[in-house]
Each structure stands twice: as C-alpha cells, then as structure tokens.
C-alpha cells in the first residue's frame, strides 16, 4: 500500500514552533508528512491564529487558495464555520491525540486506502534529541551551575575510591539527606518510649505554656488579628511581631533567644500593641541594635515560629497531646525555607497522605519517635497540623512504588549531591 506524502506549510509559526511540529510529524509512521516553506506547494496549511496580525494574511490565503486544507490553532474557541473537509480547528493546549485524528482525516482526503494507525513509540524522543545534538556546536556554559564536581570541559574528575562492600544504610540515615548539623538542638536525644509507661511518658512531655513558645505563637496571632505590631519583652529579650510584613524582629540575637526557649518565663513578660506607624521607629531601633551585635535580627515569621517550637520541644511532646489520636497534616510545610530536621520530608509525605498517630508514623517509617514529635510540634505551631478527633476507622493502605530500588538510588544520589 503506498501512501502519498502530505505537504504541510506553516503560517504564523516561527522556527522554534516549527521544529517542534516537525518532530511530531516525522514520527507518525502511518502517514508521511513533508514540510514545505512555500505555502503555494502545501496541501495543508497550519495557521496559528494567535500570531501577531495574522488575520489579514490568513484571509488572503483563504481567498487565494480555496482548495487548500487549513488547520487553525488557537487558544480561543473557533468562531469560523467552515467546510468541514477543508477547515479544521485545534484549541490550545493541543492534545496529540486530537492532532493525530485530524491528520488521519486529512490524509484520508488524499489516500483512498484506509490508514492503519501504528502504535506510538518512543522514537520521537530519540529522534528529537539527535536533532538537538546535531544543532549544538558547543555545550552550554556551566558557570552558574552549582559545584557538583564536574570539570569545565564536561568530564568528571576521578571519583574517590569507595569501599567495595555495599552496605545498606539504615533508614535513620535517610534523615541525613538534609545535611542537618547539631540536630540535638532541634530534635533532642530521647530514646523511643513505651507509651503505656507513664514514667517514660512524663519524661518526654513538656509544657509550652510555661515557656516562650506559647507567648510567641499568641503574639503572632494578635499581630495579625489586631493589624498592628506586637512588642513582647520576655526576661531580657524584646521581640516585635509584624504580621503584615510577616516578620519577627528582635534586639537579641538568635543564639540568645535559643537559650530562652527552655527557660520558664514565670510571667516576667510585658506586652504592648503598637500601630503600624511605629514601623519606621522600629527599624531605627533594630539598626542600632544590629550595629552592636553585627547579626541579622529579623526573620520570616513562619520560619521563626517553627524554629522556636523545635528549640522548645527538643523532640518531646507537648502536654495534652494524645499519642493515640491520629494526626492530620493539612498541607505540606515549606521545608526549603524552614529549619531542617531529619526525616521531615518522609514524615510530611506519610501524614499528608493519611492520618496516623505519632507512634504509628515512627513505626511505619522506621525512625525514632523524637523526629516525629519534633515535626508535629513545629507543624502545629505554624498551624499546619492538628489531632484528629476521630480515631482512624480503617487502615489506609499507603502507596508503594512498583520498583522501589531505583527510587532508593535516586535518594542516595540526592544525598551525595547535597553533602
């Protein structure tokens, strides 16, 4: 069976788009498409109606070539009724299946035998990549690429010799993916507990109301509700909460605030609500303070609250939290802009998928409970997690990928990249 080639011309389509269409068309095996530059030679004209000032050109083509087939492409709906055999329309975003159907209809205009469509194959990608390689004369400059150990001529430096014995790293090390240093300040060092042992439970419980954590969370809420700047003085530290700007400022350094986190405040606090007109004066105060300490003393509000919660809890659990109630994670925390804690990505992925208790989460992921406790405390502090009132009625079958080995290797690779 011989199938005639269909000649296709483009109108209102630049070279870049043309190369993409060319790649698609060349990989359709059941009809041969030949692209032509001269519209007069084209049997089919593909017209991008969204191109600048295309209408006069298009109308002229319709007038001069009434026998040509036009395939109009636009992001707007087609308004032009036309001879169905001579005029086709594809709405953007164009789906390849729709495009292929139209090509099939068009090719049946020119070929008497019916066209049998062959299955799509991945040759498309290979062909296109080969074409790209041919056009490339030099590799892209990698001057802005982060250091990954590649030399500038594209070859890798000789890799360090690693021990030959392949050792499976326990899941605890998956947390190290985040390159967390001094994690004890954030997640403490408690061992796992038996939740039925009241003594052990007492040891891992803390009272945020007695610490600055609750005061700070309330100050953020009040600043937002009252649309002002809250000034909070706790012991020797003064903090300013500006919810409109999503900022927390302090005349104390972060190091000083960290040590306050574990100190009961004993109500040695003063609280003031200032109007937003106080802001310029606040900036003067902060500049004076910064000149003395030479340290940044303003932080994103969410990141600050997250950090305070971690420093205060240190892997313990707040009084009143039930370890038997499932936890609901309402949305993923913005982990790239928050203090990193080991296993946070895995914990978030699991809890976002379905509610589990904190102990179940630690068991399912094979990690220490303190990581889960720390994660929950921090998420709760920024309003992203809460306890579910209802006990989970049935077990949720969480997802498993069919070929986990390759995903594990990707994780390992990512770990090496950020080390």
């Amino acid at each position: 069976m011989s199938i005639e080639a269909i000649t296709i011309g483009f109108v209102g389509i630049d070279e870049r788009a043309r190369s993409a269409y060319q790649t698609f068309l060349e990989n359709i095996s059941w009809v041969k498409c030949v692209l032509v530059d001269d519209i007069a030679q084209a049997q089919v004209c593909i017209v991008d109606l969204d191109a600048y000032n295309i209408q006069p050109t298009y109308q002229e083509l319709l007038k001069n070539y009434p026998d040509k087939i036009f395939l109009r492409i636009s992001i707007n709906n087609s308004k032009e009724p036309g001879d169905a055999s001579k005029s086709f329309f594809l709405k953007k975003p164009v789906k390849k299946e729709n495009f292929r159907k139209i090509l099939k209809k068009i090719s049946s205009e020119y070929n008497e035998e019916s066209i049998t469509e062959e299955p799509e194959n991945n040759l498309l990608i290979k062909v296109h990549l080969n074409k790209i390689s041919e056009r490339q004369e030099e590799k892209k400059d990698t001057s802005d690429k982060p250091q990954t150990g590649n030399s500038t001529d594209g070859t890798k430096p000789e890799a360090k010799k690693k021990p030959k014995v392949k050792k499976k790293i326990s899941t605890a090390n998956a947390g190290k993916l985040l390159n967390v240093k001094n994690e004890e300040h954030l997640v403490g060092y408690q061992k796992n507990i038996d939740i039925n042992d009241t003594e052990q439970l007492k040891e891992i419980t803390y009272e945020p109301d007695k610490l600055i954590q609750t005061l700070i969370e309330k100050a953020c809420i009040n600043s937002k509700l009252k649309e002002g700047i809250v000034r909070l003085t706790i012991l020797d530290a003064t903090l300013y909460f500006d919810a409109q700007k999503q900022k927390v400022h302090s005349t104390s350094t972060l190091c000083a605030l960290q040590s306050l986190c574990l100190t009961p405040h004993n109500n040695a606090i003063t609280y003031q609500l200032k109007p937003v007109s106080f802001r310029p004066k606040l900036y003067q105060i902060l500049q004076t303070s910064k000149n003395k300490t030479m340290e940044e003393q303003s932080w994103n509000m969410e990141a600050f609250v997250w950090l305070i919660a971690l420093w205060s809890s240190r892997g313990r659990i707040a009084k009143g939290i039930s370890l038997n109630s499932p936890i609901v994670l309402m949305q993923w925390p913005n982990l790239t802009r928050l203090a990193a804690i080991p296993h946070s990505v895995r914990i978030a992925a699991l809890l976002y998928e379905a509610p589990y208790t904190l102990i179940e989460t630690a068991d399912l992921l094979g990690i220490e409970q303190r990581y889960v406790f720390a994660f929950y405390n921090a998420c709760k502090a920024i309003g992203l997690a809460k306890m579910s009132q209802r006990k989970q009625e049935k077990e949720v079958a969480h997802k498993h990928y069919k070929n986990p080995s390759i995903l594990k290797k990707v994780l390992g690779k990512l770990f090496r990249l950020i080390k």
């Binding site: 630049d14 070279e15 870049r16 788009a17 993409a20 698609f24 492409i73 953007k92 975003p93 164009v94 789906k95 390849k96 299946e97 495009f99 799509e120 991945n122 498309l124 990608i125 990549l129 790209i132 490339q136 990698t142 802005d144 690429k145 982060p146 990954t148 590649n150 594209g154 392949k166 050792k167 499976k168 090390n173 998956a174 993916l177 949305q331 913005n334 790239t336 990505v345 895995r346 992925a349 699991l350 976002y352 998928e353 399912l364 992921l365 997802k399 990928y401 986990p404 080995s405 390759i406 995903l407 594990k408 290797k409 990707v410 994780l411 390992g412 690779k413 990512l414 990249l417 950020i418």
Partner: protein
Amino acid sequence: MNDVKIIITGPVGSGKTAAIITLSDKDPVSTDQSATDMTKSMKSETTVAMDYGTMTLGGKERIHIYGTPGQERFDFMWDILSTNGLGLILLLDNRRKDPLKDMTFFINSFKDYIEQTAVVIGITQTDVNPLYKIDQYHRKLNDLGCKGAIFEVDARSINDMAHLTQALLFTIDPGLEFSE
C-alpha cells in the same frame, strides 16, 4: 536498563532549564535560542523544544530529566513526554501576572499524568515578588482537586531542588528507604 524519567514543566522563565542544570550530572542538552517574540521581554533565550539532562545512579541506571517548553504552542510535546514518567515537577514564577492561573493551566494540562503519578510544585522568584503567598497556591491546588508539596525554591540551588525531588519521591512512596 532500569531508567526512569521526571518531567519538569512550567511557564516561560520559571527556572526549568536552571533546574535541569542543577540536577543533572553532565551538561544537559539545552535547546535555548534567542527569543523572538514577546517572551524576549522575560528572557533573552527561550527553550526551542525541550531541555534534557541525566542523573546517573551507578552502573547503567539513569534518571532522565525532561524540561518541557513553556509556551502553550508546544503543549502537544507535553503529552508525548509524560509517557512512562515517574512524576511531575511544576515550577511557577511568582513574578508573573497571574501565577495561580499558570498553576491551573499546567495542573489541568497534566491532569491524567498526575493522577497516575505525583506532582510537586516549586515557586521561584518569591524573593523578587512576594505578592503571592504559598498559602494561596495551596488553596488553589486544593480547589483543583490535587495534592502535592509546594516549596519556595531557587532553581539554581541544589538544596532546594533536592528537597523538591525528595518530596516527589516520598509522595510516590513514603516508605522509601535509601541505600548507598
């Protein structure tokens, strides 16, 4: 060969090319050419068809990373690219006029693919234009009936892109361990 692929998509200038450079081992195949239309006001080069990079995992296994062209006129390529993929990384440019509309467009365009796999979203340029907040993106994603991690990222930062990629992998399988 046990190869898999990840698709990185998003509008023009959202950082797809930079993200592939960040994640790839070798210099990726880049198809940037001078922009000739209104995208030139956004960037001087724009992707002709697609960017491509690889992450080698040891032996002959590789992750193929494909970046789709940003403009709608290339969107039939998206359909082709997403066959047999692991998941989708959607990068959104917070400087654009309506990035929430962009998100709607791309989530709807890849809806079938996302349902079979997973999506994570990286918001770039939040330091340049903090107008749109991450909560708004979460609400919009929820309205679209979709779930996924949303992080602020700098596409040139290996830490940010590694976090985002980890989020994709753990969304696919939260119980993943890792081996070296």
